[in-house]
């Protein structure tokens, strides 16, 4: 595949990934806030919203796989290194956080959102370092 085609393809899969991410975020917000602010705790609507969000989540995963496939070998390496670090930090950090909750070291319950933030931040830091390393 020549560069122009590669660039076009890359642009296409990146836009596709952005649209799936946006859709997933919007449906997640709908499933989270809908029961309280839109459909007044009606379970059927909540199940429907969660099902739609999950299905769009599957689409998001597929879009991400397509995006990774479109990268060249160095870009793939940078992405995989960053994902590996994020996974490691997520597992280690997440389990430590869970143990802290069980041992009552932290006040209140452990929240999944903190784990998501930890994974996202470590992924972004690792990605930035990886990109800089090969520049």
């Amino acid at each position: 595949m020549k560069k122009e085609n590669v660039s076009k393809h890359m642009k296409k899969v990146t836009i596709n990934l952005a649209l799936w991410t946006l859709s997933w975020l919007l449906t997640l917000a709908l499933a989270t806030f809908g029961p309280k602010f839109i459909w007044q705790e009606r379970t059927t609507w909540s199940i429907l919203a969660i099902a739609i969000n999950t299905l769009i989540g599957v689409g998001l995963i597929r879009a991400h796989i397509k995006h990774l496939s479109a990268l060249d070998e160095l870009q793939k390496k940078i992405q995989f290194d960053a994902m590996g670090i994020a996974l490691g930090v997520g597992v280690i950090g997440g389990l430590s956080y869970s143990v802290m909750d069980i041992a009552n070291v932290i006040t209140g319950d452990a929240e999944i959102s903190f784990l998501v933030m930890l994974i996202s931040i470590s992924y972004m830091i690792a990605l930035t370092i990886g990109k800089k390393r090969y520049t």
Partner: protein, 68 residues
């Protein structure tokens, strides 16, 4: 791994972007290979070899092999 990519590219009056174009990779990848920060895969090495009509050994210098 050391290589002659920069010299070969300069001899043909090609920019990094031109070479990246021909090999269907990003300019960052060409830059990283030239600086020896990233070793290309075998398929990419073959593509480079075919483009410059030289053998892989003429382009890439495996220092480790030489030392042993």
């Amino acid at each position: 791994m050391k290589n002659k990519l920069k010299v070969l590219r300069a001899e043909r009056d090609m920019t990094q972007a031109d070479l990246a174009n021909s090999l269907a990779v990003s300019r960052q990848t060409i830059n990283a290979i030239e600086k020896g920060k990233f070793d290309p895969s075998l398929p990419l090495a073959f593509k480079i070899s075919k483009l410059f009509q030289l053998s892989i050994e003429e382009i890439f210098d495996n220092e480790e092999t030489k030392e042993s």
